[in-house]
Symmetry: D2
Subunit: 345 residues, 4 copies
């Protein structure tokens, strides 16, 4: 940590900062320039709030040198993290392809979708049963009944299931049913939730918050990793900007930046990151070309009657066309579509 | 709701949209211009997702005419909502002045702060006991022990206490101790939490999310109101923008916009919205001048040793100076500082 | 244009709006619902400011139905615009690949770069001679001397040259030397500049402003098109958001959105949109996969000694590797790298 | 400047950076910690691009310690800059109150407005004659004819006139007529324009760009100051964010931040920063309460027939009411409304 003193800081102020550094167990490196004095605080600083120094008299600004995350950092773990999700390996040369409806609505809807996305090449099934809806008047999900339906779809198709958990009180029922726990964008900094997930051994799909920085996403992953659950899959799903032509702005830069900063696998959600089915294919191709380890895509057999996110859902035939395009890009990138395993019965 | 058709939409596509509108129980108003056909869907539309229409063939775009919130809307409730917090009335001509440390750290710290802010003119005490921290390695709060200390501070000073709730599982212990439940920015769309709070009768301070729109803030208030809890106090606390000179950007526009859209009281948090103690006074004055119903301000007796948010905390004497300045502005705005009630012993 | 009245608007207010519509030569379509009256203003509305209606008593809000741009719109010109730049066709199946240094610094630098990028597969050479620099103390460009050097590089390699124009007073000298006039992000709404460019017949590369919406980019293109210059090439170069891990956020969504809204060709600048050479290749691949008609990339033989933008410049050998990767993606997208023509001597 | 090396940087890489620092005439301060080596580059660094170091092998990141602006900095000029505009002193205890229409439309319009705003307490008149319009089909201003009308209004009322300059080619005619040259948001980084203005001695009102950082605003001021023109008045006019409830987001934080970083006077434009006349008064009060040195406000006698910005223009009587409110706040802030001088005839 570097503490930069004001140009008019007094020797007493400099001395006071030095004492404060020693008081918290760090060592000091003093650098006195013509205009500026800079004081380095050296040691285990990643868990020390920089505020502590910023409020001292004579301090201009404080800059962190080392990253505030450790377990998620590629610096301390240079190899890619690869872990199995029932049927395929995330983070490997196999491309993750998670597809399904925004919400589970009925038995026929989820079974029809599961079969269709499997046939098209998906290797996991998504479907929401507890829905975070902006309006209290919108459909809030089928709850445990939806989990039963997803389990049936898994049995019928062999696809592992990815389901969003909205609250720490749902952890037991979720772990019982699902293959991958999804943490939604609005919960990326629900730290209580992150902690209970960190206590499980179920793989996690952690979505970036609407206005979360890449560093904050990694800090949230750090919560889960610190709890002992190492199977964290990061997901870029669009950020909020001034542009209104699309629902969100796909931060495609996040793909190479994350691949550089962390060893964790990174996928992209072109449905939420664009908000419109017309743009999903282009952004799915772009994500794979940028180096993403996979995609999560909303697919619905009848978007006009979907209870949620109809506008951004692909019909199954269009999803199948998308998979073909994506496969070609994946091949160039040295990846391939993993086949899902066979149905369990 | 207005459905605008593409210029090349066929009569069959127009007819199909009309049928869809009738199917969901709305009536139709057709408007055929030279270039564009516009179809109005009239009735109770505030809980109908516009996606349903956007995916139909031939539809260019869909625009909502009526606000998606109802209970929070000034249109349906023109008078200001005023409700009592132990000792003063929020939303009235009495200015709410909530002050205290980011985190409760120790008995002496919270008691010292409580006495100091009361003396300076505060009418409520804030203090965090469950802390949402970006890093898993940061101080996470004293938990229930902190609530005991806050209760003691309330008894000693007569100040009602405002405490952040982070999860639905904390609701019972929180309701037992606190006078106002605070929902933090990161939980503004934690809908499970909003629902359990809606089931209580404890006043709520609902903070705007870092990148939440004003409309989304009102939709979150709607969740609580829909549950039956009418005592919701909205709080602007800065939004995330490209500007890095301050921690957040105070959206001062939100004050008059919210006062126009809703009957709920609106306060501002200049500590978080600037992130630096040097700017707190200026923004506190601006908030009251813009018409805010109150302020929530971080105060700490020794910011350099605060476990969190030291950089944006005022020392008690500086807070007292701030209150003097704010009082003068308040007077011009036809408001006055409410006195806190006397201690209970 | 739809004028939505307040729910408590009086019949007089409605009547007044109707008169105002007729006064400016539009026809009226009245739609009276139970809660809301909506008044359609029908006719040539794309050049009528919506403010005119928003200020009338009783008006809640005004919504534009038709796009405010016309010449740039794909609606009125469904076929892709294709136009020749000395040696290749922009907007066709040939991928535009414009490369070169941020600034022209010296004869040897620009010649060396020109030969290197040509050999790697570029079909046009970029280089700045008038530089828009944030700081008045930074290098401001070689001016006309730089144009002479670029002309020499063109003669030596056959590559057409793309150069930024910063002010309307430079138009004559620029048109004399350059093959493509570049309008930089900071000048996207320099309307005087756009107008003088619209009066020429030189192709234009129009960069999106740092915080310009896609609609505003198209409105700026409309200025040039309205002047009579139809050869406008749009360029996404990253937008400003809260994320600080990269210099800008590549708005990859803009590629399919622009291809859908306009017939003009669209390229992407991964150097500025990321700000770091490490991320340029990934984003270049993503752009082509998303459907971009080309790329503009900064290349410098010695980035550490570049006078500007060294951090985001590729060395020639890395650029050559990038071209190989991009070519493979281009092939899948049904495109190919156009060869530059032979040197003129 | 601090160059932070990667944790695995080699001694050769460290040595190479040190040589590079010496090569450009700076001195070196080496700081070797357990995990990180930090190299300070000491001397006149404010005009050295940090890119030069970021591209060197082994470098993790480079951080600037000193501000990149100098003439605008309060550090080098602790006293407030105060300068006369015909009739009053900007930056002093006199509050600048600039008012008038967006565009000069006709003789009667500008004369009527000038008399009205003067009577209400304004001390300068604004009015646009060259208009930067997003659409080429919108009204583009009266040009020099408008300047004649403004000059007539000045003579009739004694109010100095503030007019936007859009291009360097307008400098001679503008300097001949106007008292204050306004640089609009879209031209904040039109460096050619800034340079010609720096060569004059006419006071300048420099508006912040829609997505310009506070530092960039100060760098643009630095261009003008470096040219020799010291009379620069900064203007916060709202920034672009994700929030769509208002046209822009007033960055009220910018007022105290700018007052802290620079000695130049700072005013605020509540018309553009909100985009709606209903919110102008609240934000005008907030600006003065936050410490602004003045306001610039759009006033039009008949907003419904204004050719531009009608929605955000106050009618004269509402402006007069605003001035009364603002005066009361100003008094608390130790300021007063300066009276305009008497008419010149």
């Amino acid at each position: 940590m570097m503490i930069i003193m004001k140009s008019n800081a007094t020797p007493q102020e400099v001395e006071h900062v030095i004492e404060h550094i020693k008081e918290i167990g760090l060592s000091v490196h003093l650098s006195q320039g013509v205009e500026t004095t800079i004081i380095g605080a050296i040691g285990e600083t990643h868990n020390i709030p920089i505020d502590q120094f910023e409020v001292l008299d004579g301090v201009e600004t404080v800059q962190r040198i080392t990253q505030p995350f450790k377990l998620a950092s590629r610096q301390f773990h240079p190899e890619n993290s690869i872990f199995p999700i029932d049927g395929f390996s995330v983070g490997s040369e196999e491309l993750a392809l998670i597809a399904g409806p925004c919400s589970v609505e009925s038995r026929s809807q989820i079974l029809e979708t599961a079969h269709a996305v499997k046939e098209a090449g998906a290797n996991a099934l998504r479907g929401g049963v507890f829905k975070p809806r902006t309006s209290p008047y919108s459909f809030q999900g089928l709850g445990e009944e939806g989990l039963e339906l997803l389990a049936e779809a898994r049995e019928a198709t062999g696809l592992p299931i990815v389901v969003e958990i909205m609250s720490q009180v749902q952890i037991d029922v979720m772990v019982k049913y699902v293959d991958v726990l999804q943490v939604g964008a609005r919960n990326m900094q629900n730290f209580n939730l992150l902690r209970v997930i960190g206590d499980t051994q179920t793989p996690v799909l952690l979505k970036r918050g609407l206005s979360a920085s890449i560093e904050e996403l990694l800090m949230s992953a750090e919560y889960i990793l610190a709890g002992g659950n190492k199977q964290v899959l990061l997901c870029e799903r669009g950020i909020r900007t001034f542009e209104t032509a699309t629902r969100n702005t796909t931060d495609i830069n996040a793909v190479p930046v994350l691949k550089s900063l962390t060893h964790l696998p990174v996928i992209l959600d072109p449905s939420h990151s664009t908000g419109h089915f017309d743009y999903v294919e282009a952004i799915a191709r772009a994500a794979v070309a940028a180096g993403a380890d996979g995609l999560i895509v909303e697919v619905h057999p009848d978007p006009a009657h979907a209870v949620s996110d109809g506008r951004q859902s692909l019909k199954p035939e269009r999803f199948a066309a998308m998979v073909k395009q994506v496969s070609q890009i994946a091949e160039i990138m040295g990846r391939r579509l993993a086949s899902a395993k066979s149905p369990t019965h």
